[in-house]
Amino acid sequence: MDPLIVTQALNVVYGVTTLALLVLGLAVIFGLLGVLNIAHGEFIMAGAYCAYVTQANGWPFVAALPLALIVCGALGIVVERGLIRPLYARPFDTLVATWGLSLLLRKLAEALFGMGFYNVDVPLHGTVALLGTDYPAYRLVLIAVSGAVLTGLFLWFRLSRTGARIQAMVGNRELAEAVGLPVRRLAAYTFVIGTCLAGFAGVLIAPLVPVQPFMGLDYVLKTFFVLVVGGLGTVMGVLSGAAVIGGLDSVMSAAIDATSGYVTVLVVAILFLWLKPRGLFARS
């Protein structure tokens, strides 16, 4: 097989799976709970900065993961209690409040780390010979990890007791309250899972992108569009949305340039919002 084609194909797979990983947190918070957390990108940013801090302190890369979980978890708890919970019935105000939060987090990052960008070293150097081409090892790791996390999360959600309770709460909140589900606590727990997933994704992509305060903006838009195209509340939604958006972005960026990729994604997203606002695979 032509090595160039294999590389391009792997790039697309890489683009799609990392996008799916980045979407997960928002898929939980927006897709399941219906909370439009515009600060989602900033939780990813927080994770990325955790990776930088880990590196700056000389710790091994994997130490960034628990650090990100602690930071994003704690932040998630505070945000859910202070910002999200009082505004559950007012989706528009939630949008504005989380937008303010994203601003706050961005400015905080600026104040703490400065406006410039940092590079986090790739923890796994070198390439792997695969299907006639040499592909960066870390990217392959990322593809594998994304796949594992997606599968694991899906299985946990479908098969576990807590997953069933979350589904029950999301699908029929009134009945959930009547059977004794601690709905408020469960919603908070679900929100924090979402922010932790975002932080986790942020750590993993940190070695591959410049870590700077504004990095969250692009991610929040792309992940939002994935859910718009794919549909809220289903796994197929996340996958199909990531495939469409991630695929288009990769292909157009490779073929022309980054701006074209951006434009294409934007046009497709607007078309979906316009013509098929529930996306491809929405929860009924």
């Binding site: 439009l36 910002l83 009082p86 505004l87 989706p91 528009f92 105000d93 949008l95 504005v96 409040a97 937008w99 303010g100 939060l101 601003l103 706050l104 961005r106 400015k107 905080l108 600026e110 104040a111 504004f214 903006l217 692009d218 838009l221 939002f224 569009f225 718009v228 340039d257 701006t259 951006y262 434009v263 934007l266 997203a269 607007i270 919002l273 316009w274 013509l275 606002p277 009924s284």
Partner: protein
């Protein structure tokens, strides 16, 4: 109010006398930002949607103005083309609003995300398109406006631009369209059900806000001499929203106050206090959560005092309602509709020929309210057709159906609680009488009609026009909504449990009103009711619905005697 406006203008014009040239120049820049922020106040504070990328219009006008100035230099044509640059921004905003709002019923989050994405895209384009925009370093060497070169001239030009924007905004807020925007923000569905094209209204709001930002941007270019992509980017967009919010998005001057106070403070303190911008963001969140009225809310009592006594100008008779006026003839043929998996209507066939009063009854889930939703275009049938006077209305948007002479009243009264009683009644009057351009004329707020006189005669509380509708009791709200429905003088009036929650005296008065309206207007009135005593008093013909289909029809005695109907109401052994 006039006195206050004159005082403001005088203040603005005299201010530079007390300031250094440099300060005046800085203030001039903030005036331009204030123009853009006022647009955000219009969209967010009045019409109820939030644009997150407003700087793209500011930047577009700035780039267009910059290019024009570079190209034309000293020519006086500049004074024609610069306003056109601002207008271009407004037109673009209107276009975007038109396209986006057409499909998205609720403006909310999706609209905001699209504007955010578009502004990021605009920034990208400005940065990449080196040939035209000068790329990352921007458009340099832009000459000033011919004849207005020094610092104090810059101040007066900006001040004039801001005063023009504030004047336009003030006019629009006082005009019917301003009232409609505020009504939209509270209950968009209800506005559409008075016959207004709400998507067009929102698009106009967005267009005007784009124009305001464009005015700021068009003056920015000659004043600063340099236009960089930042001017179209996210940072400025974000700042504009914060300034509008902190200053107070609901008031006319709130956004301006926010820009001047917060913007100026930021410039002073940004370098001295490390975490200043973090503080500002935190303050913004606080304002959103706890103090939505912003800084100007603090001054609200003063503003009210300045506004002075409310005087009642003489009334103006409203023109007659547009469209036909014969009683309606309604026919539903074999209509089926689902919502998700649930079958709401199944092969429903129904004929109502006005005038007269007709009742629809049936158990819960029979499809009564759904039938009303079908008739007002809010429920799309999967099969069958709905004919009004022989013309099909299936597939028409609600406001067009209303324009054909349909009126509706809801079970839980849907009035505009944050508007005054007079404003509520006006909206009903403007519904199918005011043309689009007439919505810009403040004089329309004085409209009245013989029907309104009769209603005020029966219910004196309706005359207290300056009371906020939120202060009305439940019974008064029901009557207000019924009055609004009657004011539109429909040919087919749909009333959903009009006496719900009313005291016996109020109920008797409403029944009397309905009967009177039926006789006076000679229209078809369809009432959904559960209370059989009321049904006996009102109808006419009764239609019994069950499981989404017509079960029985006839007068009271016939329906009571019908065993199928009995079985449905009492249950039985199957």
């Amino acid at each position: 109010m006039r006195a206050a406006s004159l005082a403001l203008v005088a203040l603005v014009l005299l201010l530079p006398l007390g300031l250094s040239d440099y300060r005046a120049y800085q203030l001039a820049l903030y005036f331009l930002y204030a123009a853009a922020a006022t647009g955000i106040g219009l969209c967010w504070g009045r019409a109820g949607f939030l644009p997150l990328g407003q700087a793209m219009f500011f930047g577009l006008a700035a780039y267009l103005a910059g290019l024009t100035l570079i190209w034309l230099g000293d020519s006086l044509w500049v004074f024609v083309l610069l306003p056109l640059a601002a207008a271009a921004a407004g037109l673009l905003a209107y276009g975007i609003g038109f396209l986006v709002f057409r499909r998205q019923g609720e403006s909310g989050p999706y609209f905001s995300m699209i504007t955010l994405a578009l502004s990021l895209l605009a920034f990208q384009v400005a940065t990449s398109w080196n040939d035209v925009t000068g790329g990352f370093n921007g458009l340099k060497g832009i000459p000033g406006l011919p004849g207005f070169d020094d610092f104090s001239a810059a101040y007066y030009v900006s001040a004039t631009a801001l005063l023009i924007v504030l004047g336009l905004a003030s006019w629009l807020y006082a005009a019917p369209i301003g009232v409609l925007w505020r009504a939209l923000a509270q209950n968009e569905r209800r506005v559409a059900l008075f016959g207004f094209n709400t998507n067009a209204l929102k698009a106009v709001a967005f267009g005007v806000s784009g124009l305001f930002a464009g005015i700021g941007g068009a003056i920015y270019a000659p004043q600063q001499g340099l236009v960089t992509p930042q001017v179209a980017g996210f940072g400025l967009s974000a700042d504009l929203v914060i300034w509008a919010a902190v200053g107070g998005r609901f008031g006319l001057l709130g956004p301006t106050l926010g820009v001047l106070l917060v913007g100026a403070l930021t410039t002073e303190l940004r370098d001295r206090i490390g975490f200043w911008e973090v503080l500002m963001a935190g303050f913004f969140i606080l304002v959103v959560l706890a103090f939505p009225r912003g800084l100007i809310g603090v001054a609200a009592p003063l503003v009210r005092w300045l506004e002075g006594r409310q005087h009642s100008p003489p009334a103006v008779p409203a023109p007659p309602r547009r469209g036909a006026s014969e009683p309606a003839h309604l026919m539903l043929s074999d209509v089926s509709a689902e919502v998700g998996e649930v079958k709401i209507l199944q092969h429903l066939s129904l004929k109502i020929a006005g005038p007269g009063i007709f009742c629809i009854i049936g158990p819960n889930g029979a499809g009564k309210t759904s039938t009303f939703n079908l008739l007002t275009g809010e429920l799309a049938p999967r099969a069958g057709e709905v004919l009004l006077d022989g013309a099909e209305i299936t597939g028409l948007p609600p406001h067009r159906i209303i324009a054909r002479g349909v009126g509706r009243k809801f079970q839980i009264p849907m009035i505009f609680v944050d508007l005054t009683v007079a404003e509520n009644l006006c909206i009903a009057l403007w519904g199918c009488r005011a043309t689009r351009l007439e919505l810009l004329i403040p004089r329309l707020k004085r409209w009245t009609s013989p029907m309104l006189d009769e209603l005020v005669g029966r219910y004196p509380f309706l005359a207290a026009g300056h009371r906020r509708a939120a202060e009305l009791s439940h019974g008064q709200r029901q009557i207000l909504e019924l009055a609004m429905a009657l004011l539109t003088e429909p040919r087919l009036l749909l009333l959903d449990e009009p006496c719900a929650g009313l005291s016996p005296e109020e109920t008797a008065s409403v029944i009397d009103l309905i009967r009177w309206a039926g006789r006076k207007l000679q229209i078809a009135i369809v009432v959904i009711e559960h209370d059989m005593t009321l049904v006996k008093e009102l109808a006419g013909i009764i239609y019994v619905l069950h499981n989404g289909a017509l079960l029985a029809q006839g007068d009271v005695a016939a329906v009571r005697a019908n065993t199928d109907v009995q079985a449905v109401y009492v249950g039985g052994e199957k």
